[in-house]
């Protein structure tokens, strides 16, 4: 199967701002693509060719009305049904155009095309509209042989703007030509006076007689004469013409498709060749045609956007049809695959680049005797017929069908895996995205798949995520993004209800920013584009009033959504709103400093975790991410990448977690790391502002990998200090990497002696070399610090990095971690007041661990206990109290007495500990046995929270034989304590006895008695014959079978589901369950 397309050429004006007018033209063309009527050639594409032409591409059919007449021997067409049918189709098509605010003004026998089944297809109807009547480009408008008298009289094409009934006259002329043959009015010579002499219009006087003589039906004659009404005011509009007796047969109702089809069948009955259209197509066309009269204008546009939107609507009205490719999609697939080149097609017609002489205006003034003076200095209107040019350059494309061999590509990284300390074996997908996008066959399969998914959205949300992770077909990106953002495809009226006209405070800024927003893009730089941007941004500002505000950069963010949904502002708006809501947590608030700082800090921590050497370099230079990354973050990279590349980046962002942006910042910085490492402060910053080419796919790969490998605590610990460049790791994650880490203890030697993580190395300058060597065999290097404050400096970590620790093996990362206080949330006052001490004391950072030395059970306990003692002591009252709830009353009393003493004890300890930490242990050991056991319980809770994130026992066991036993053992104890904990929780939440006494059941004091039925009136006993009494096993089976046959044969289901159903039938139990 193939299809003919036609190219129309427009000549750009030579005046200043020509590129502007080209993009304005393309901007105006976009809406034309949404026009969709059975009587219009579909508008497909517009652009500027590299040789300087502006071109438009439309559906095309080789046969014209003129051809039809020639086939009939050049005389008039006599069959009244054919004439009537053509008249009806012409008027319907034009009425549709006018209802959409588009005037044709280019109508002639030559550009009314006929498709294979002889349906009328108007062509070239877009030229007048998109060029603003020739203002934006040189193009032939207004075939002189068909101009209405008022246009001839006014002597200027500009008058067309005010004469919206010119096309009605032209339809009259076309019908005259069809009835009487084109030579009746005009003999084809260059002498136009015969047609253009409006005073006499010699042929007009005899027209009626001629029509009657030609046996034309009175209805048609009356119709023609209505069209050829000299007075513009009295001339009917197309809307009125549709209700003419010719079509209604005297009834008042406007013609429906039925009448159109009647006419068509009778047309088919004549000896013209006919081709039956497939039923589906006819149905959908009819649907569109009918709905046109009922739907609101905007909905109409949505519906008729053949590219994307109409899947939704059609899905509601049709049962199940496999998705199909529209002509526009077919064209764009060819274009993506570069099998269409406008330049080459034109070259075949001998059209190269435009020689400057050709860029002069196309029209040459012709002085007919009559118009000599009035038209003397008008170079545009009346011209030789030969200089009127509406040539269409045609070419054919092969239609790609859905059932083809589809190349399979490897799948990229996904966001489904949780963080893991092991670098993934998966490499970057080998097939570049760009190649995939250029492969038309691959794209067909993707398109069809996504059309299906989109049609079934939101039920298909899971599949959508899965498929989008592979790639998103460029032709459906707009709607796929919308679905990913969770925007319901139903017609959303929110946007329409926002008043986008009343001035607001943001207007001034918008006015300044919009003309500077992604102006390299043809659509966004067009006038239409500017207007749309202004409306969307304004709507956003208004809809977020009191919540978010306009920050410069928002315009950049909106640009991709508009470019992808140029014909659907409402969707672009909703996407923008959802996108900002989802990924810009606080960045667009009036005061965004908190959010901004959080992002900046996260970038720092991730960089230092993943690339300590680079981080160290930047720290030395005094460069912080806020010096370069603010525009990246605020615009989600829209300001540093052009749209085509940005799309790929956002494809991933839309699937990722909300803080993924910071990983992309890291990925970009990492890609230029080698250059950065050799540069000084200002050259680094200059490099950031003028980034070298960044490969987007590498960037995505690096970022996803970094996201997977970075423990969440590194960038999201609540206590992260803004100034810190040092990635800190939470205790949970630490336990996961402890086996693969060299641990460097950076606390004082004394503290180290008191207690330390087994196998850790106390930091001494002379140990640098040892650590460096050791780090060869490990994945991580972790530093432990005593307090979060001392982590800030992290001088030791810094020195390690400088000594080359991170450099030995590129796989190796060094990182610093802080364990922040694990203190439990509690409303207890005494605790919250002390917990701050607890955190500063209990917090410590670690660096580097050890696999070689085993962490014996005792040792580990020691370490954890040792480090938590202080906090635990202080925190314990709540825990103890809750524990007590489980004890017997006697024990409780005893404990309470002891607890009464504890706070002071705690204080004592606190003071001691501040000086000598090992006094802890002795004090601790000297405690009574009961308390000891209690402490044990607390430790367990502690450990539980610490180790919560540990995966499975099996994993742990495989991680290292030396480490496993203790951990497994601990885990066992932990699971016990988890149960206890939950018990405690329940107990704690149980209402107090005192509270319970308050409650009771009370009756309303006034009782109302309602009248009811007497037994004789209404018998409450069930009917003796009701089914369930008789649902015998046989009946059950029968029902089941009936249901299954119905499901199998009659119910409309997806094919895939059908398979599923058939399987299900084999296991009747489930179905029975459903029935009963």
């Amino acid at each position: 199967m193939s299809k003919v397309l036609g190219i129309q050429l427009l000549w750009p004006h030579l005046s200043e701002g020509a590129d502007r007018s080209a993009s304005n033209l393309v901007g105006r063309f976009q809406r034309m693509k949404t026009l969709n009527s059975p009587h219009l050639c579909q508008c497909i594409d517009a652009g500027t060719s590299s040789s300087g032409y502006i071109y438009t591409v439309l559906e095309h059919f080789p046969r014209t009305l003129a051809d039809l007449m020639n086939e009939n021997g050049g005389g008039g067409i006599k069959d009244p049904a054919v004439l009537r049918s053509i008249a009806l189709q012409l008027v319907s098509g034009l009425e549709y155009l006018y209802a959409n605010g588009v005037a044709h003004f280019n109508l002639s026998l030559g550009n009314v095309l006929l498709d294979a089944s002889n349906s009328v297809k108007l062509s070239n109807y877009h030229l007048y509209h998109i060029t603003k009547g020739g203002e934006l480009a040189e193009v032939s408008i207004g075939n002189p042989a068909y101009l209405a008298p008022e246009l001839i009289a006014s002597g200027s094409l500009d008058a067309m703007k005010y004469c919206h009934k010119g096309d009605v006259w032209t339809v009259g002329l076309i019908l005259v030509d069809m009835c009487l043959g084109s030579s009746y009015r005009y003999d084809g010579s260059d002498d136009l006076s015969k047609i253009l002499d409006i005073q006499t219009m010699p042929w007009l006087d005899h027209l009626h007689g001629a029509l009657v003589a030609a046996n034309i039906s009175p209805d048609l004659i009356s119709f023609i004469s209505r069209c050829l009404t000299m007075s513009v005011v009295e001339r009917p509009s197309f809307y009125q013409l549709l209700r003419h007796d010719l079509f209604t047969g005297g009834q008042k109702a406007p013609p429906r498709t039925e009448s159109l089809r009647d006419a068509q069948t009778s047309l088919d009955d004549s000896d013209l060749p006919s081709l039956q259209r497939p039923a589906i197509e006819e149905k959908s066309i009819r649907y569109r045609h009918l709905s046109r009269h009922n739907l609101h204008q905007r909905q109409q546009q949505k519906l008729e956007d053949s590219d994307q939107s109409d899947y939704f609507l059609s899905s509601k009205h049709s049962i199940y049809q496999p998705p199909q490719l529209s002509l526009t999609e077919q064209y764009h697939l060819h274009k993506l695959g570069a099998s269409i080149s406008i330049e080459q097609i034109l070259a075949k017609y001998g059209i190269g680049s435009i020689p400057s002489i050709d860029r002069l205006p196309l029209y040459v003034s012709v002085s007919t005797e009559l118009d000599k003076h009035s038209l003397a200095d008008n170079t545009r209107l009346i011209h030789h017929v030969s200089s009127y040019q509406d040539q269409v350059y045609t070419f054919t494309i092969d239609l790609i069908s859905g059932d083809i061999e589809v190349p399979v590509y490897t799948v990229g990284l996904a966001f489904t895996d949780p963080w893991t300390p092991t670098p993934s074996a998966r490499s970057k997908p080998r097939k570049p995205l760009q190649l995939k996008e250029k492969n038309a066959f691959y794209q067909v399969s993707r398109l069809l798949k996504f059309k299906q998914i989109v049609r079934e959205f939101p039920l298909s949300a899971v599949e959508l995520q899965k498929e989008a992770a592979i790639d998103i077909p460029p032709l459906l990106r707009g709607i796929v993004w919308a679905c990913l953002l969770g925007i319901s495809p139903d017609v959303n009226v929110e946007y329409d209800f926002i008043d986008k006209n009343t001035p607001t405070s943001a207007d001034r800024q918008l006015e300044l920013d919009i003309p500077r927003c992604h102006q390299y893009n043809e659509l966004l730089s067009s006038e239409e584009g500017h207007m749309k941007m202004a409306r969307i941004l304004k709507a956003w500002v208004l809809s977020e009033e009191g919540n978010l505000v306009y920050w410069q950069g928002l315009d950049s963010l909106m640009a991709p959504f508009l470019a992808l949904n140029f014909n659907d502002e409402a969707r672009a708006f909703l996407c923008l709103k959802a996108f900002i809501g989802k990924y810009f947590d606080g960045l667009f608030m009036e005061d965004n400093s908190v959010a901004l700082n959080r992002h900046i800090t996260a970038v720092k921590c991730i960089t230092s975790y993943r690339d300590p050497q680079l981080a160290s370099h930047l720290i030395e230079l005094g460069i912080t991410p806020d010096m370069f990354a603010i525009p990246w973050i605020m615009t989600m990279f829209a300001q540093i990448f052009q749209l085509d590349r940005l799309y790929h980046l956002w494809d991933t962002i839309l699937l990722g977690p909300k803080d993924f942006c910071v990983f992309l910042v890291y990925a970009i910085v990492h890609q230029i790391r080698d250059q950065l490492l050799n540069k000084d402060f200002s050259s680094c910053l200059v490099l950031f502002s003028e980034l070298p080419p960044i490969d987007i796919e590498t960037c995505i790969y690096l970022a996803v990998e970094a996201w997977r490998l970075t423990p969440p605590s590194v960038y999201s610990l609540p206590g992260l200090s803004l100034a810190s460049w040092v990635g800190q790791i939470g205790i949970q994650e630490f336990t996961e990497i402890v086996g693969r880490s060299v641990i460097v203890d950076c606390r004082s030697a004394e503290s180290f002696q008191n207690h330390h993580v087994a196998g850790s190395i106390s930091f001494q300058p002379q140990m640098l070399e040892t650590i460096r060597k050791k780090s060869h065999n490990y994945l991580y290097v972790v530093c432990i610090y005593a307090t979060p404050t001392s982590v800030r400096g992290a001088a030791e970590a810094h020195e390690l990095v400088k000594s080359g620790v991170s450099h030995v093996n590129p796989n190796m990362s060094s990182q610093s971690i802080t364990q922040t206080s694990q203190s439990k949330d509690s409303s207890n006052e005494s605790i919250s007041s002390t917990s701050s001490t607890g955190s500063s004391k209990g917090g410590f950072t670690r660096m580097v661990s050890d696999l070689g030395k085993k962490l014996s059970r005792r040792q580990e306990k020691d370490v954890l206990v040792g480090k938590n003692i202080l906090k635990e002591d202080v925190v314990s009252p709540t825990l103890v109290q809750s524990k007590l709830a489980l004890e017997k009353e006697k024990q409780q009393d005893a404990l309470n007495r002891k607890l009464g003493l504890r706070p002071s004890k705690g204080d004592l300890k606190l003071r001691n500990i501040l000086k000598v930490s090992d006094s802890n242990d002795s004090l601790f050991q000297s405690n009574e046995s009961l308390e000891k056991s209690l402490n044990f319980e607390q430790k367990q809770t502690k450990l539980k929270s610490i180790l919560k994130r540990r995966a499975t026992r099996a994993e742990l066991e495989s991680a290292g034989s030396g480490v496993a036993p203790s951990i497994v053992e601990t885990q066992r104890r932990l699971s016990r304590s988890i149960i206890e904990d939950s018990l405690e929780n329940k107990l704690r939440n149980r209402p107090d006895v005192m509270e319970l006494e308050e409650k009771g059941i009370y009756f309303c004091e006034t009782v109302e008695v309602h009248t009811t039925f007497r037994k004789s009136e209404y018998n409450r006993k069930p009917d003796g014959d009701v089914t369930f009494k008789h649902l015998t096993p046989q009946l059950k089976v029968q029902i089941r079978n009936e249901l299954n046959t119905y499901k199998k044969n009659e119910m409309d289901v997806h094919v895939d589901v059908l398979d599923f159903l058939l399987q299900r039938r084999e296991t009747p139990a489930t179905i029975i369950d459903m029935i009963c």
């Binding site: 730089s525 950069g553 005094g622 402060f681 001088a795």
Partner: protein, 236 residues
């Protein structure tokens, strides 16, 4: 005398100790302030690359550029922070003008309101910035003379009253752009800068600290503890 930009590339990380002191480039930190779309970025672009872009995208946060000039026997390296114009970004501005030796406050001669905004920037600089900062008031878009709404005299009078350098320029035509920077270069006490720079090691790095209170703590701590403070500031 004019100071055409030299074509020298930036020095590497380890510049050879220059025997003649005057051959060392003197770093001058300069900040551009002014209302949105008055043409700040365009002025810098003209100065740095001698280009003009019709639809320059808005600056978000800030942009950093450098340019070297020769003035008599000295080389001056301007380190320029071009800031965002939108009012909301004003809270970030201190981070850029802190420790700046010079500021260009721009307005648009076709927009009266932009001069008012410029005045408020001048006021803020006089209050908050380095007390010796050299401020130049620049009326941009001189090429749009026909649409002028701010009389030269008005701005001139204000500038002399406040002791500012003043000129009108056009980033589009390039007129008087170079002069702005030359005049600033002339007025900067270069000798003094050279001397103080080597003493404190306070490069632009320290100046451009993180926003917010206590922002610089981490780095300062670190530098002190690791003894690397002297390396800050790059090539001096």
């Amino acid at each position: 005398m004019s100071a055409p930009p030299t074509n020298e590339s930036a020095p590497g990380t380890a510049p050879a100790p220059a025997p003649v002191p005057s051959a060392k480039p003197v770093q001058v930190k300069l900040v551009l302030l002014g209302e949105a779309a008055v043409g700040k970025s365009s002025l810098v672009l003209r100065f740095v690359n001698n280009e003009f872009q019709e639809n320059k995208e808005p600056t978000i946060g800030a942009a950093f550029l450098t340019q070297k000039c020769r003035l008599e026997d000295k080389i001056i390296k301007f380190e320029i922070w071009d800031t965002a114009g939108q009012e909301r970004f004003a809270s970030l501005a201190p981070m850029y003008y802190r420790n700046a030796q010079a500021a260009v406050v721009a307005y648009d001669i076709t927009k009266q309101a932009s001069l008012e905004k410029a005045k408020s920037w001048v006021k803020e600089l006089q209050r908050q910035a380095n007390p010796n900062i050299i401020i130049a008031l620049v009326g941009n878009k001189l090429d749009l003379e026909a649409e002028r709404t701010v009389p030269t005299e008005e701005a001139q009078a204000y500038a002399s009253e406040q002791g500012l350098l003043f000129t009108e320029a056009s980033a589009k035509s390039g007129e008087f752009v170079m002069e702005v920077f030359t005049e600033i270069a002339k007025k900067i006490p270069l000798e003094h800068l050279l001397a103080s720079r080597s003493r404190t090691g306070a490069g632009p790095a320290t100046g451009a600290g993180a926003p917010g209170a206590g922002g610089a703590n981490g780095r300062v701590d670190l530098n002190q503890s690791s003894g690397s403070a002297a390396t800050a500031g790059g090539c001096c």
